[in-house]
Amino acid sequence: MNGLMDDAAFSRALKSRHRRGNIWQRFFRLSTIVALLALIALFLNIANSAFGYALQDYDIAPTELVEGGDIASLDNARLVAMLAEHQPRRLAVYVRDTLSMVDASVFTTLPLSRVLEGRSYPEALASATIPEVTADDLQTILRDNLTHDQLVSIIEEQVIGINVLRTWSLTDSLTNRAQIEAIAAENPRANLIFRSWLDLNFLSSPMSGNAAVAGIRTAILGSVWVIVITVAFAFPIGVGAAIYLEEYATDTPLNNLIETNIRNLAGVPSIIYGLLGLAIFVRALETITAGRTVLSAGLTMGLLILPVIIINSQEAIRAVPSSIREASFGLGATRWQTIWNQVLPAAMPGILTGTILALSRAIGETAPLIVIGASTFILSDPSSPLSRFTALPIQIYQWTARPQPEFRAAAAGAIIVLLILLLTMNASAIFLRQRYRRKLTA
């Protein structure tokens, strides 16, 4: 007996070895396909909810209010008069929700000069409290302070009162049309419309408790404010740290500590940054940040993406050939002159690409914003770093967490906006990188 097989046994074994190899190769290919299918399912699922039939009815049809039913064509005075006619008791509520600068609990007890600080109101009423103001004066206040868009959306919500009775997904809408129409026929007052939950109104309307008229303008503006502060804070510091580590740092324990620390920070879960922001920016520095504001959120996000910006910038700076630095030193430039005039311009496309990618992470980040307390329901747009705010991912979270299907549909619409935003940012990062590459090779 020697250890070798005879030819027949060998070729049999070879066949089974190859068979096993082929089966596993199929598994490997399958796992790639499963990942791609998951991606496709994710996109289809979102599109499926964002478009489809909706059965809606009105408390008062728009055509009963105005000839032709186009509310937006009326001027502010007509709109406020309409509001006063149909909802006379709620005028003070609109003032509270849209114009008040103070907490709801003291809204009725403080004088107008405090309640409406910075808004326009009749001078004579400065020391009056809300219950003392007449309906006519409330109308004046609403008319003078609200924009046309705000008035239109209040009318839509409070007077016309669109109710979404039922929604259908895109697949149902396409395949079960007869059944849907049968259900619609049972509600003669309601009308069946094919609704894209993502439309211009959706982008321009403020948040609302009614899914039919709710929009994401406040959320988009909130996200923009947060991102602007994030960049203003994280970009200079991140690039500064990268320059220090690449151009100045020598192999000392302190510098190694900084380097290791940055790598570790990149792996800390985002919700921990939320807790950090809550304790430091929202509570400890409340006198500066005014609590749960855009500023606190931006600084927290800044800390979150700082390690990513540093690591990406380091790579970009490292890629600058050292001959450029040596030539600059040889001409008598100081270290900083070399960095500022030679290294940074050469590394800038790479740094910008890395920063955009880091920002696209920040814009979708939800958990830290929840922890530091983004408001769940605000109607006024953020106007300064010290405004309370909501953000696009927070809005998606809120709507998804609600059980009503119409809010899920609105969430799907908001997700599409978020994904388009991310796609644009990533595409611009790739574009920047490609252009830079071409420049280097040319």
Binding site: G267, P269, I370
Partner: protein, 335 residues
């Protein structure tokens, strides 16, 4: 007379001012070069600012440790729970004064295990396919598409888990078995989220294995599959382990998917915990839910969040450190 403005001292100057002679002699005696480095306060200031930028990341870490530590200390000193109770008590019910982290921890473990059951085989499979089998042009198209998965915000995955995966699971296993909020749907979608991370790190590890090893294996008559499983994978094992650990750390720290799909209340230990089809709030999910509501500072609820946060931080930090030290070892072998 015009010599005065020049820095070179000539004998003529010395004759005029004897002090210059002393200065010249002194310079010749010393070993110092005549051209010394000029002090530049501006440069020093910039350097100090850049160092500060670098140090800010260290301050962030210190800030995290101090904040989590001090608030946790307040929590443990308030008398509602001792450290031992915190880790051994079996119920988390702040209203009843019970603070045992086990139910939250077990839900975190359940979702993470489900996630890794999806992410590890599929991620590794995709890495092997893309790295070892796929033709270059196929690879060049598939890889960026796979990377899209890594860029999707987690709240979108949460939406996907709740509106797609949950109904799918309930359709497959029955409405009675699978609850509306359950760890399985959250875990499966989390697995999809982590998959690209595992795939790209594993692929890096596989491609770092030298060609010569593969060629030697082929030369001995091994099939491609045998080469992969018996030569390439063992050689890349430390890199794959590092990827796995990093994946676990991301699963443990993931918030939005579990906040939306895994349930809004701690599971009951001994009953529904570790049942993937039952609802169970994870550590991150609990922090998100409680802090999302109206939370008053200095309450026990508020402090308890930080003690959960500290547990989470220590867990993920350990996983990251082990992952990095494992992958460092692997780098030393082949470069």
């Amino acid at each position: 007379m015009s010599n005065r403005n020049l820095s070179i001292t000539t004998p003529l100057d010395i004759g005029r001012d004897p002090r210059l002679l002393n200065a010249r002699l002194k310079r010749q005696d010393s070993t110092e070069p005549i051209l010394t480095k000029q002090a530049r306060p501006g440069e020093m200031l910039i350097r100090a600012f850049l160092l500060f930028c670098g140090l800010l990341s260290v301050f962030t870490t210190i800030g995290i440790v101090v904040v989590l530590g001090s608030e946790s200390l307040l929590f443990f000193n308030s008398g509602v729970a001792t450290l031992t109770e915190f880790f051994t008590a079996t119920r988390w019910q702040p209203q009843a004064g019970e603070f045992g982290i086990m139910p939250l921890l077990s839900a975190t473990i359940t979702t993470s295990i489900v996630a890794m059951f999806v992410a590890l085989p599929l991620g590794l499979g995709a890495a092997i396919y893309l790295g070892e089998y796929a033709r270059p042009n196929v690879r060049a198209t598939l890889k960026p598409i796979l990377e899209i998965l890594a860029g999707i915000p987690t709240v979108v995955y949460g939406y996907f888990a709740l509106t797609f995966m949950t109904p799918l699971l309930r359709g497959m296993f029955g409405q009675d078995t699978v609850q509306i909020y359950n760890n399985a749907a959250a875990g499966l979608v989390m697995g999809v989220m982590i998959l690209p991370t595992i795939a790209s790190m594993s692929e890096d590890a596989l491609s770092a294995v030298p060609r010569s090893l593969r060629e030697a294996s082929y030369g001995l008559g091994a099939t491609r599959f045998e080469t992969i499983t018996k030569v390439v994978l063992p050689a890349a094992l430390s890199g794959i382990i590092a990827a796995f650990l990093l994946g676990v750390s991301r699963a443990v720290g993931e918030t939005m998917i579990v906040a939306l799909a895994a349930g809004a209340g701690p599971c009951v230990l001994g009953d529904t915990c570790f049942n993937p089809f039952a609802a169970g709030e994870t550590m991150t999910g609990h922090i998100a839910r409680i802090s999302g509501g109206d939370l008053s500072y200095n309450s026990v609820d508020y402090n308890s969040l930080f003690s959960i946060g500290l547990t989470l931080f220590v867990f993920t930090l350990l996983l990251n450190l082990i992952s990095r030290s494992v992958s460092k070892r692997f780098r030393e072998v082949y470069q």
